[in-house]
Protein backbone atom coordinates (compact mmCIF):
# COMPACT_ATOMS: atom_id res chain seq x y z
CA UNK A 1 0.00 0.00 0.00
CA UNK A 2 1.00 3.61 -0.46
CA UNK A 3 -0.45 6.69 1.18
CA UNK A 4 -1.45 9.72 -0.85
CA UNK A 5 -0.71 12.86 1.14
CA UNK A 6 -3.47 15.45 1.24
CA UNK A 7 -2.22 18.12 3.62
CA UNK A 8 -0.16 19.12 6.64
CA UNK A 9 -2.09 19.81 9.84
CA UNK A 10 -1.44 21.20 13.28
CA UNK A 11 -3.34 18.55 15.25
CA UNK A 12 -4.15 14.86 14.84
CA UNK A 13 -7.74 15.70 15.72
CA UNK A 14 -7.85 17.97 12.68
CA UNK A 15 -7.54 14.84 10.54
CA UNK A 16 -9.13 11.86 12.26
CA UNK A 17 -11.58 10.32 11.61
CA UNK A 18 -11.95 11.97 8.18
CA UNK A 19 -8.59 10.63 6.96
CA UNK A 20 -5.59 8.74 8.30
CA UNK A 21 -2.96 10.76 10.17
CA UNK A 22 0.80 10.29 9.91
CA UNK A 23 2.98 12.14 12.41
CA UNK A 24 5.89 14.19 11.07
CA UNK A 25 7.78 16.06 13.77
CA UNK A 26 5.27 18.31 15.59
CA UNK A 27 2.77 18.12 12.75
CA UNK A 28 0.56 15.54 11.05
CA UNK A 29 -0.07 14.61 7.44
CA UNK A 30 -3.52 13.63 6.27
CA UNK A 31 -3.33 10.63 4.00
CA UNK A 32 -5.41 8.19 1.99
CA UNK A 33 -4.11 4.63 1.58
CA UNK A 34 -4.35 3.09 -1.86
CA UNK A 35 -2.86 -0.06 -3.41
CA UNK A 36 0.65 0.30 -4.79
CA UNK A 37 -0.55 -0.34 -8.31
CA UNK A 38 -3.37 2.27 -8.08
CA UNK A 39 -2.85 4.85 -10.86
CA UNK A 40 -2.87 8.33 -9.31
CA UNK A 41 -4.58 9.76 -12.37
CA UNK A 42 -7.71 7.68 -11.83
CA UNK A 43 -10.72 10.00 -11.99
CA UNK A 44 -12.59 8.41 -9.09
CA UNK A 45 -9.50 8.65 -6.90
CA UNK A 46 -9.03 12.32 -7.81
CA UNK A 47 -12.63 13.08 -6.92
CA UNK A 48 -12.31 11.14 -3.66
CA UNK A 49 -9.18 13.04 -2.62
CA UNK A 50 -10.80 16.34 -3.60
CA UNK A 51 -13.77 15.42 -1.40
CA UNK A 52 -11.51 14.57 1.51
CA UNK A 53 -9.78 17.93 1.12
CA UNK A 54 -13.10 19.66 1.50
CA UNK A 55 -14.10 17.65 4.55
CA UNK A 56 -10.74 18.23 6.20
CA UNK A 57 -11.04 21.95 5.59
CA UNK A 58 -14.42 21.90 7.32
CA UNK A 59 -12.58 20.74 10.45
CA UNK A 60 -9.55 23.02 10.38
CA UNK A 61 -7.29 24.94 8.04
CA UNK A 62 -4.31 23.00 6.68
CA UNK A 63 -1.42 23.38 4.27
CA UNK A 64 -2.41 21.77 0.98
CA UNK A 65 0.08 19.37 -0.53
CA UNK A 66 0.08 19.19 -4.31
CA UNK A 67 -1.62 16.00 -5.48
CA UNK A 68 0.78 13.24 -6.39
CA UNK A 69 2.95 13.06 -3.28
CA UNK A 70 2.67 9.53 -1.91
CA UNK A 71 4.41 7.86 1.02
CA UNK A 72 5.64 4.32 1.32
CA UNK A 73 6.66 4.55 5.00
CA UNK A 74 6.32 7.10 7.85
CA UNK A 75 10.12 7.54 7.74
CA UNK A 76 9.71 8.53 4.12
CA UNK A 77 7.33 11.27 5.23
CA UNK A 78 9.74 12.75 7.74
CA UNK A 79 12.67 12.63 5.34
CA UNK A 80 10.79 14.49 2.64
CA UNK A 81 8.92 16.97 4.82
CA UNK A 82 11.61 17.86 7.36
CA UNK A 83 12.80 20.99 5.52
CA UNK A 84 9.26 22.40 5.56
CA UNK A 85 8.04 21.56 9.05
CA UNK A 86 9.09 24.69 10.97
CA UNK A 87 7.59 26.97 8.33
CA UNK A 88 4.38 24.94 8.10
CA UNK A 89 3.93 25.07 11.85
CA UNK A 90 4.37 28.84 11.80
CA UNK A 91 1.86 29.21 8.94
CA UNK A 92 -0.68 26.85 10.46
CA UNK A 93 -0.52 28.59 13.82
CA UNK A 94 -0.86 32.03 12.29
CA UNK A 95 -3.67 31.14 9.88
CA UNK A 96 -5.74 28.56 11.72
CA UNK A 97 -8.82 30.75 11.37
CA UNK A 98 -8.11 31.72 7.74
CA UNK A 99 -8.96 30.06 4.44
CA UNK A 100 -8.23 30.96 0.84
CA UNK A 101 -10.68 32.18 -1.78
CA UNK A 102 -9.82 32.68 -5.43
CA UNK A 103 -11.24 35.02 -8.03
CA UNK A 104 -10.36 33.72 -11.48
CA UNK A 105 -10.91 36.37 -14.14
CA UNK A 106 -10.89 35.99 -17.91
CA UNK A 107 -8.06 38.13 -19.26
CA UNK A 108 -8.97 41.18 -21.28
CA UNK A 109 -5.68 41.16 -23.18
CA UNK A 110 -3.93 37.97 -24.17
CA UNK A 111 -1.32 36.45 -26.43
CA UNK A 112 -2.49 33.33 -28.22
CA UNK A 113 -1.08 30.06 -26.96
CA UNK A 114 2.04 29.18 -28.95
CA UNK A 115 1.95 26.21 -31.28
CA UNK A 116 4.61 23.59 -30.54
CA UNK A 117 5.10 23.04 -34.25
CA UNK A 118 6.33 26.62 -34.64
CA UNK A 119 9.37 25.91 -32.44
CA UNK A 120 12.49 23.95 -33.19
CA UNK A 121 13.40 23.56 -29.50
CA UNK A 122 11.42 22.56 -26.46
CA UNK A 123 13.04 25.32 -24.43
CA UNK A 124 11.90 27.97 -26.89
CA UNK A 125 8.38 26.60 -26.77
CA UNK A 126 8.29 26.60 -22.99
CA UNK A 127 9.58 30.18 -22.88
CA UNK A 128 6.85 31.21 -25.33
CA UNK A 129 4.24 29.48 -23.17
CA UNK A 130 5.49 31.41 -20.17
CA UNK A 131 5.47 34.69 -22.08
CA UNK A 132 1.89 34.07 -23.23
CA UNK A 133 0.78 33.48 -19.66
CA UNK A 134 2.51 36.57 -18.35
CA UNK A 135 0.91 38.70 -21.07
CA UNK A 136 -2.60 37.98 -19.82
CA UNK A 137 -4.06 40.95 -18.00
CA UNK A 138 -7.31 41.95 -16.37
CA UNK A 139 -9.42 44.92 -17.38
CA UNK A 140 -8.02 47.73 -15.17
CA UNK A 141 -11.48 48.92 -14.10
CA UNK A 142 -12.47 45.41 -13.06
CA UNK A 143 -9.22 44.94 -11.19
CA UNK A 144 -9.85 48.19 -9.32
CA UNK A 145 -13.43 47.15 -8.53
CA UNK A 146 -12.35 43.70 -7.34
CA UNK A 147 -9.70 45.19 -5.10
CA UNK A 148 -12.17 47.71 -3.71
CA UNK A 149 -14.78 45.15 -2.64
CA UNK A 150 -12.69 42.04 -1.89
CA UNK A 151 -9.28 43.08 -0.65
CA UNK A 152 -10.59 44.86 2.48
CA UNK A 153 -12.10 41.52 3.56
CA UNK A 154 -8.77 39.70 3.29
CA UNK A 155 -5.72 39.60 5.51
CA UNK A 156 -3.56 38.88 2.44
CA UNK A 157 -4.10 39.10 -1.30
CA UNK A 158 -2.08 38.24 -4.35
CA UNK A 159 -2.71 38.58 -8.11
CA UNK A 160 -1.17 35.80 -10.16
CA UNK A 161 -1.15 34.65 -13.76
CA UNK A 162 -2.80 31.26 -14.11
CA UNK A 163 -2.55 30.62 -17.83
CA UNK A 164 -2.63 32.56 -21.07
CA UNK A 165 -6.36 33.28 -20.72
CA UNK A 166 -6.92 34.08 -17.07
CA UNK A 167 -5.55 35.93 -14.09
CA UNK A 168 -6.41 35.14 -10.50
CA UNK A 169 -6.75 37.08 -7.30
CA UNK A 170 -6.02 34.86 -4.31
CA UNK A 171 -7.39 36.03 -0.98
CA UNK A 172 -6.63 34.84 2.51
CA UNK A 173 -9.76 35.54 4.52
CA UNK A 174 -11.02 34.89 8.04
CA UNK A 175 -13.52 32.03 8.13
CA UNK A 176 -16.13 34.32 9.66
CA UNK A 177 -15.93 36.68 6.67
CA UNK A 178 -16.73 34.04 4.03
CA UNK A 179 -20.32 35.20 3.65
CA UNK A 180 -19.09 38.77 3.20
CA UNK A 181 -16.67 37.62 0.50
CA UNK A 182 -19.46 35.79 -1.34
CA UNK A 183 -21.68 38.87 -1.07
CA UNK A 184 -18.86 41.00 -2.44
CA UNK A 185 -18.57 38.55 -5.33
CA UNK A 186 -22.26 38.96 -6.08
CA UNK A 187 -21.87 42.73 -6.03
CA UNK A 188 -18.95 42.42 -8.44
CA UNK A 189 -21.09 40.30 -10.76
CA UNK A 190 -23.93 42.85 -10.64
CA UNK A 191 -21.68 45.82 -11.34
CA UNK A 192 -19.51 44.10 -13.97
CA UNK A 193 -21.84 41.78 -15.88
CA UNK A 194 -19.65 41.85 -18.98
CA UNK A 195 -16.56 40.40 -17.26
CA UNK A 196 -16.58 36.59 -16.82
CA UNK A 197 -15.10 35.50 -13.52
CA UNK A 198 -15.34 32.69 -11.00
CA UNK A 199 -15.14 33.30 -7.27
CA UNK A 200 -14.48 29.98 -5.56
CA UNK A 201 -13.51 28.52 -2.22
CA UNK A 202 -12.94 28.10 0.58
CA UNK A 203 -9.64 26.39 -0.10
CA UNK A 204 -6.88 25.29 2.27
CA UNK A 205 -3.58 27.15 2.38
CA UNK A 206 -2.31 26.83 -1.17
CA UNK A 207 -1.07 30.16 -2.51
CA UNK A 208 -0.27 31.52 0.94
CA UNK A 209 1.62 28.41 1.98
CA UNK A 210 4.29 29.51 -0.46
CA UNK A 211 7.39 30.70 1.34
CA UNK A 212 7.34 33.97 -0.58
CA UNK A 213 3.82 34.87 0.52
CA UNK A 214 3.84 34.06 4.21
Amino acid sequence: MKAIVIGAHLLRDDIEPVAAAVGVGDLYLSTLEVPDDQPLGDRELLVKVAGLRGRLLDVATFVAIRYGFALSTPDDALAKCAPHLARWKRILTAHREHVEMTLKVVASSTLSRPDRHDFTSGAGYLRALHAARQAADVDPQFREAAERVLVPLAVRNHWQHRDEKSVELALLVPRDRLDDVKAAGEELRRTNPEIPFLLSGPWPLEVFADADRE
Binding site: R53, L126, L129
Partner: protein
Amino acid sequence: MTDVDLEELPLLETLDHLLDRGVIIAGEAVISIGDVDLLYLGLNVVLANVDAIIRTSQPKK
Protein backbone atom coordinates in the same frame (compact mmCIF):
# COMPACT_ATOMS: atom_id res chain seq x y z
CA MET B 1 -14.59 30.98 -19.42
CA THR B 2 -14.56 27.88 -21.56
CA ASP B 3 -17.86 26.49 -22.70
CA VAL B 4 -18.67 23.94 -20.01
CA ASP B 5 -21.74 22.82 -18.18
CA LEU B 6 -22.18 25.14 -15.19
CA GLU B 7 -22.87 22.14 -12.97
CA GLU B 8 -19.38 20.82 -13.76
CA LEU B 9 -17.65 24.07 -12.79
CA PRO B 10 -17.25 23.32 -9.08
CA LEU B 11 -15.75 19.90 -9.86
CA LEU B 12 -13.42 21.34 -12.49
CA GLU B 13 -12.34 24.12 -10.17
CA THR B 14 -11.82 21.66 -7.34
CA LEU B 15 -9.69 19.38 -9.51
CA ASP B 16 -7.75 22.40 -10.77
CA HIS B 17 -6.88 23.28 -7.19
CA LEU B 18 -6.01 19.67 -6.37
CA LEU B 19 -3.66 19.30 -9.34
CA ASP B 20 -2.28 22.77 -9.69
CA ARG B 21 -2.01 24.28 -6.21
CA GLY B 22 -0.42 23.56 -2.93
CA VAL B 23 3.05 22.79 -1.74
CA ILE B 24 5.16 20.49 -3.88
CA ILE B 25 7.11 18.09 -1.74
CA ALA B 26 8.87 15.91 -4.23
CA GLY B 27 10.41 17.12 -7.43
CA GLU B 28 12.97 19.46 -5.95
CA ALA B 29 15.43 18.46 -8.63
CA VAL B 30 15.12 20.96 -11.46
CA ILE B 31 16.36 20.68 -15.01
CA SER B 32 17.63 24.04 -16.21
CA ILE B 33 18.65 25.24 -19.62
CA GLY B 34 20.52 28.52 -19.64
CA ASP B 35 19.02 30.69 -16.94
CA VAL B 36 15.57 29.17 -17.19
CA ASP B 37 14.47 26.39 -14.89
CA LEU B 38 12.35 24.15 -17.04
CA LEU B 39 11.34 20.88 -15.50
CA TYR B 40 11.08 19.19 -12.18
CA LEU B 41 12.40 15.69 -11.97
CA GLY B 42 10.17 13.24 -10.20
CA LEU B 43 6.96 11.41 -10.82
CA ASN B 44 4.97 13.43 -8.36
CA VAL B 45 4.31 16.28 -10.76
CA VAL B 46 3.43 14.37 -13.89
CA LEU B 47 -0.21 15.23 -13.34
CA ALA B 48 0.46 18.95 -13.42
CA ASN B 49 0.16 20.67 -16.77
CA VAL B 50 3.16 22.14 -18.56
CA ASP B 51 2.30 25.68 -17.50
CA ALA B 52 2.16 24.60 -13.88
CA ILE B 53 5.53 22.92 -14.14
CA ILE B 54 7.04 26.05 -15.65
CA ARG B 55 5.45 28.25 -13.03
CA THR B 56 6.73 26.20 -10.14
CA SER B 57 10.12 26.00 -11.78
CA GLN B 58 10.51 29.76 -12.00
CA PRO B 59 13.33 31.14 -9.87
CA LYS B 60 11.94 32.89 -6.80
CA LYS B 61 12.09 36.66 -7.18
